[in-house]
């Protein structure tokens, strides 16, 4: 077993290219999965790599460094389009988890119930990936391939999440449904982002649902149906069961599949209603 905690990205990538490493950052998925078993893998700790933590705003949008924690996101001033992400950040595990867990870790762990994924899908996020071969970007929707499965190569590291400028418009809201108040794995969750044109109609909509399919997904039919409608209290009524047909929820200890489908429709409507609510208190609820 080897452990490495490099200071620079080049070092990290060189190591990654030279062996099979388990990557650790916040540790909040690593240790629970490990349990009491002895650690035998080589482990690459990327928390000391310079330049991987923090949120930058540029001409082409936002860059959220891979090791940015959920608490960092909560404490950063961001446009209203990011409200869903900031609300989700407060629902990732507990405060203790939010202080250590990272945004890239949430994506690379690839849990169907990852709270960070729907808001990032609704922001049209791209994953910035580096290796000794160079760097590339991949839409988040193509990056997570299935339960615990991503498109990350064995020599690659996620270096950032990028939100394009165009996706940073509008307002957003996050709805989480669980069987208790705190520290709960979602039965279902929804992020909705709605951009409104000058005449008060929906210009663009992005709606993503988690915990109701192996990978969280956008509801593109619904998004299309919302465009052009008045962005007011009536908007949520546009949600129809057929808009959720692409979901494939399962029965598990948290809820039945049938319930998930029904509840998802309801919280989609609520997320939309909150995203277009005029009252900021209602939006934050």
């Amino acid at each position: 077993m080897r452990y490495a905690r490099p200071r620079s990205l080049d070092e990290a990538l060189a190591l990654r290219a030279g062996g099979r490493w388990r990557v650790i950052a916040g540790g909040t998925d690593f240790y629970p999965a490990q349990g009491a078993a002895p650690i035998e893998d080589d482990v690459l700790d990327i928390t000391a790599v310079a330049g991987l933590r923090g949120i930058e705003t540029g001409a082409d949008g936002w860059r959220i460094g891979a090791t940015t924690t959920w608490t960092d996101i909560v404490r950063t001033e961001l446009p209203p389009a990011f409200d869903a992400l900031r609300q989700a950040a407060r629902e990732v595990g507990s405060v203790q988890v939010q202080n250590r867990a990272t945004i890239a870790g949430n994506l690379c762990n690839a849990s169907p119930a990852a709270d960070g994924v729907p808001p990032l899908l609704a922001l049209g996020a791209e994953v910035e990936i580096a290796s000794v071969r160079g760097s590339r970007r991949q839409p988040l929707s193509d990056f997570i391939l299935g339960n615990r499965k991503t498109a990350l190569g064995a020599d690659e590291l996620v270096t950032a999440i990028r939100v394009p400028k165009a996706a940073g418009t509008g307002r957003s809201a996050f709805e989480k449904l669980g069987a208790r108040r705190y520290l709960v794995i979602s039965i279902a969750m929804v992020a909705a982002r709605i951009a409104v044109d000058a005449s008060g109609n929906v210009e663009a909509a992005a709606i993503a649902v988690g915990s109701c399919s192996p990978v969280a997904m956008r509801l593109t039919e619904l998004e299309t149906a919302l465009v052009g409608r008045p962005a007011d209290a009536t908007l949520a009524r546009a949600v129809e069961p057929r808009h959720l047909a692409s979901l494939s929820p399962i029965d598990d200890v948290r809820a039945s599949a049938a319930y998930r489908r029904e509840a998802a429709r309801e919280i989609v409507a609520r997320a939309i209603a909150r995203a277009v609510a005029a009252d900021p208190v209602e939006r934050a609820a």
């Binding site: 009491a36 595990g93 507990s94 520290l183 200890v253």
Partner: protein, 940 residues
């Protein structure tokens, strides 16, 4: 590059620099505990689910169990040990102590650290901010309300003030910060309190809990101690044979030995009820449930931690298995003498129930299913064993040291006096720590190797291998006449008792005695069966099956009230058991039945809550309000069989008043309440006592902490011992009964009016026990065994109560939001009102879990993120009304309370959901999907 750096990891802990040679990925929690000796940081799950290990890293809370040691290089780490300034507690610690926010104390360090971070950012947080900050720390004892109060009032404010009387400062509590009692937490006032009884002194064992110095099962490890790994069955039911065990030991340097059933020197069958003892310490050739221990590996710590259980040489042959009662009845017999896999049956019959129901004006029938419920104490089972000469000493968490001693001696083939059980602090028990867990395993290793041996269960191991609340399948019919008087009831219940007996017989017997609820039911038939399956062993869990049965009966009472068009509280009040009326077991109490008083105490809130709900429901929103009510009764102590307690008090030649108090305090407060009773009886302040706590070599048997018996039974023994010592002293001084006893250094002064007699203790003869005066008294409740129809006097004392739940149901999501719970409990006499309220709030939290979220699915929810217990955000405001209808038998009138408090909660929640929605959920827990399905069904 830092690949496997050999450089020590340097950081600061509580302001002092440290450098630790730890593996870079060692969990910070283990580094703090094992390498730096800071055992105040507790480990409850090793997965970030419980928050007990919360520490501050550069002022931000983190679960130390998920932080690699290498990541704190250069950081500033703070732990609970750093909160106090020397012996002076922080304001927050003092506030926790003052508010009764620490019960067992295992979550307290995590709570304190999370709250410290909050208060540093926001010195005056509101309740919502406290909940957000503490939402990641689970507590299973307190119900969180006292924790919230402690945090919001942690900063001394000029608005609060006043002083605390001398009686409020129990023995060791002098370390507390200047007391600033919060008026909102002052105990309900019930007339003048003169002596220790009725006051709410700071809990005597409280300071170590808030200072982080309390020693729990995992907090001590002697030098040279071996570690023990348990090999467990991955199958529900399977035969097994071992491969080359000697070779396994040989091939693993540092492994000292493997032990199997073949190595057990005594009788390899233990059980809390000796006639039913059937559980092997290590299974012999066949495992009957997933998680059953089949072998143990002992070795040096590093070697054991490096083991992979999959490499252990064992071959499994799975067998057909049963997980439900129906499957259990059909499966081949699991135990030789139990046909149909029926462990035992319970039966209580009185009058002619069928005829009464046939003649009733109205009847209501139903069926209810409940789930396995996990105790989920935050401290997994842990302890260590060592040989002291030829005596085996076991220090472990427990609820029942004497039973541990007897069963461990039996399994290990030792005389009882060669086994000594020294209980550590116990981080919650709720019934499961009555059964043996680590004791015979570490005992075997210590006995065989001569070396100390330690075993700390992982969370998964604790959940998979220890007992649960019985899943119940119940059916019942209750009838009433046109005036609304209950005429009769029939009840049948199957209780899934799992693979071994444990407390299954107790559940099967307690349920029929209690299934009528605290109501006069002249005609009655209740039949129960405890059915073996290959599921987890069901044992004791706060209420022994009565909480399940109460759900059945109380939901039917609502239906009867509806059919009779009666107010639900009025219907209950009409039928409430009264003095002089026989119970369904023919037990007649001539006084002390406080059921009417409890219901009456709730009437105002009931009417207001109904009016508020009706007003809210006038709107057409999708959130509907409901109000529910349910009652409880519960007999204290064993059912119709002896269960004595003995308490000893002695006076040393140098003037110490020593109480030998063997009742284990698992957080409920017996370490404070029993001394309060003794102090009152002896006529001295509580602070006069010093204590010898549970140690089977030093304390007489005060029985098990179970059956809500310690305040009543051990308390009664303490009262008798206190009175006996008082009489001895007064007689020695030859003074009258009203004389005052004052312990005064090495003398006792007895004042009788103007006269005063000073007894110089050093001049008196010292007994073998080291005392110059002593009293030892026992008390056993005057009960009578039940006959074949369950008639007799099962208990000498009962407690009573009722609760109102107000809640909202989201009609589109099926989610339930609790708004308020009002609880009225008749506890006879509140010996310690603050601790009593703490019991009520904690029991309600467990009732909330049982009603709304807790379902243990064997093999699937063996952790605290799949198995959900209430968080700080799930327990609403609780108003507790302590009703005091004195019991003629209990000490100073007191009755038991610990289990009663959880019984009404789940049925009142179900009744409130039905009130809100028209739908009754018949399978617990009422998760959102089940609530929504029930609403859809009711609309059909």
């Amino acid at each position: 590059m830092n690949i496997r750096s050999a450089t020590p990891i340097a950081f600061s802990v509580n302001g002092a620099p440290v450098a630790v040679n730890a593996p870079p990925l060692a969990r910070l929690s283990n580094v703090l505990r094992d390498r730096l000796g800071l055992s105040g940081t507790k480990v409850g799950c090793d997965a970030g689910d419980c928050g007990a290990c919360t520490v501050l890293i550069d002022s931000e809370p983190a679960c130390a169990c998920m932080v690699p040691a290498a990541q704190v290089e250069g950081a500033e780490v703070r732990t609970v040990e750093g909160l106090a300034d020397g012996a002076v507690m922080s304001a927050l610690q003092a506030s926790f102590l003052r508010h009764g926010a620490a019960q067992c104390g295992i979550c307290t360090p995590g709570m304190l650290m999370a709250a410290t971070a909050l208060l540093e950012r926001d010195p005056h947080p509101d309740e919502a901010a406290v909940a957000d900050a503490l939402g990641g720390v689970l507590c299973r004892c307190t119900g969180y309300r006292k924790i919230v109060e402690a945090v919001v009032s942690a900063i001394p404010s000029p608005l609060r003030g006043g002083s605390v009387s001398e009686a409020d400062r129990g023995g060791d509590a002098e370390n507390a910060a200047p007391p600033t009692p919060d008026l909102r937490t002052d105990p309900p006032h019930r007339g003048e309190v003169k002596g220790p009884v009725g006051a709410s002194p700071l809990r005597l064992d409280g300071p170590p809990k808030v200072l982080g110095t309390e020693r729990f099962g995992a907090d001590e490890r002697p030098a040279g101690c071996l570690s023990v790994l348990v090999i467990r069955s991955p199958h529900w039911h399977a035969d097994f044979s071992f491969g080359d065990l000697d070779g396994f030991v040989r091939d693993h340097p540092g492994i000292v030995a493997v032990f199997t059933a073949a190595d057990i020197p005594g009788k390899n069958a233990f059980g809390v009820i000796p006639p039913f003892a059937d559980q092997p310490a290590l299974a012999q050739g066949r495992a009957r449930f997933r998680g059953e221990a089949v072998a143990i590996v002992a070795g040096e710590r590093e070697a054991v931690e490096a083991l992979k259980p999959a490499e252990f040489p064992i071959v499994w042959t799975p067998l057909p298995h049963a997980l439900t009662c129906a499957e259990g009845r059909a499966l081949d017999q699991l135990h030789g003498n139990r046909p149909g896999n029926i462990l035992t049956r319970g039966r209580v019959v009185r009058g002619d129930a069928d005829a009464a129901l046939a003649a009733s004006e109205v009847t209501a029938s139903g069926a209810i299913e409940t789930a396995y419920v996990e105790h989920a104490y935050i401290e997994p089972e842990a302890g260590h064993a060592f040989m002291d000469g030829d005596t085996l000493v076991i220090k472990a968490c427990t609820q029942s040291p004497m039973m541990d001693r007897d069963d461990t001696a039996l399994v290990l083939g030792l005389p009882r006096d060669k086994v000594r059980i020294v209980p550590t602090a116990t981080g919650g028990g709720f019934g499961s720590k009555l059964d043996l867990s680590v004791q015979p395993l570490i005992g075997l290793v210590a006995l065989k190797t001569g070396r100390p041996a330690a075993l700390i269960y992982t969370r998964q191991e604790s959940m998979a291998s220890t007992t649960k609340r019985h899943p119940a399948s119940m059916r019942a019919t209750i009838g009433a006449d046109a005036e609304g008087r209950v005429t009769g009831m029939v009840f049948e219940g199957d209780f899934n008792t799992g693979a071994y007996a444990s407390w299954g017989p107790t559940v099967a017997n307690r349920v029929p005695v209690h299934a009528s609820g605290p109501y006069f039911t002249p005609n009655y038939r209740a039949l129960t069966a405890a059915v073996h399956t290959n599921g987890p062993i069901s044992g004791a869990f706060r209420g022994f099956g009565v909480p399940q049965a109460a759900v059945m009966q109380e939901t039917l009472y609502d239906e009867l009230a509806a059919k009779l068009v009666m107010d639900r509280l009025a219907f209950r009040l009409k039928n409430a058991l009264r003095n002089g009326q026989p119970t369904v077991s023919g037990n007649v109490m001539e006084s002390g039945v406080g059921m009417v008083e409890c219901l009456t105490a709730l009437e105002n809130r009931w009417q207001n809550a109904l009016a508020e709900a009706a007003a809210h429901n006038m709107g057409d929103g999708h959130v509907r309000r409901g109000v529910g009510i349910a009652s409880c009764w519960y007999g204290c102590g064993n059912t119709g069989i002896p269960n004595p307690s003995t308490i000893r008090i002695g006076v040393t030649p140098d003037g110490r008043l020593v109480m030998h108090q063997g009742a284990v305090d698992i957080g409920q407060g017996s370490n404070t309440v029993i001394p309060q009773i003794a102090a009152e009886a002896l006529g001295v302040p509580l602070s006069a006592f010093s204590f010898v706590y549970g140690d089977t070599h030093l304390t007489p048997d005060a029985g098990k902490t179970s059956g809500s018996r310690q305040t009543y039974i051990s308390g009664k023994a303490a009262e008798k011992a206190g009175r006996a010592l008082r009489e001895t002293l007064l007689r020695f001084a030859n003074v009258g009964d009203d004389a005052q006893i004052v312990f005064d250094g090495a003398a006792v002064t007895i004042r009788d009016g103007a006269a005063s007699r000073r007894i110089e203790l050093a001049t008196l003869a010292v007994g073998e026990d080291g005392y110059v005066f002593r009293a030892e008294e026992s008390y056993d409740p005057p009960t009578r065994p039940l006959d074949a129809d369950g008639q007799g006097k099962p208990y000498a004392v009962y407690g009573y109560g009722a609760q109102i739940v107000e809640l909202e149901v989201d009609m589109r999501l099926g989610t339930v939001k609790l708004l308020k719970i009002t609880a009225a409990h008749d506890i006879g006499r509140a010996i310690n009102p603050l601790l009593a309220v703490g019991q009520v709030e904690g029991g309600i939290a467990q009732g909330i879990g049982m009603a709304l979220m807790e379902e243990y699915v064997p093999g699937r929810t063996e952790n605290l993120h799949e198995y959900l217990i209430p968080t700080i955000g799930d327990v609403p405001q609780i108003e507790t009304i302590l009703v005091e209808v004195p019991d003629p038998e209990g000490p100073f009138g007191a009755k038991g309370l610990g289990e009663h408090v959880l019984i009404p909660t789940a049925p009142s929640i179900l009744n409130a959901i039905r009130h809100a929605t028209g739908a009754l959920v018949t399978r617990l827990p009422a998760t959102p999907d089940r609530v929504l399905a029930a609403i859809a069904e009711a609309r059909r």
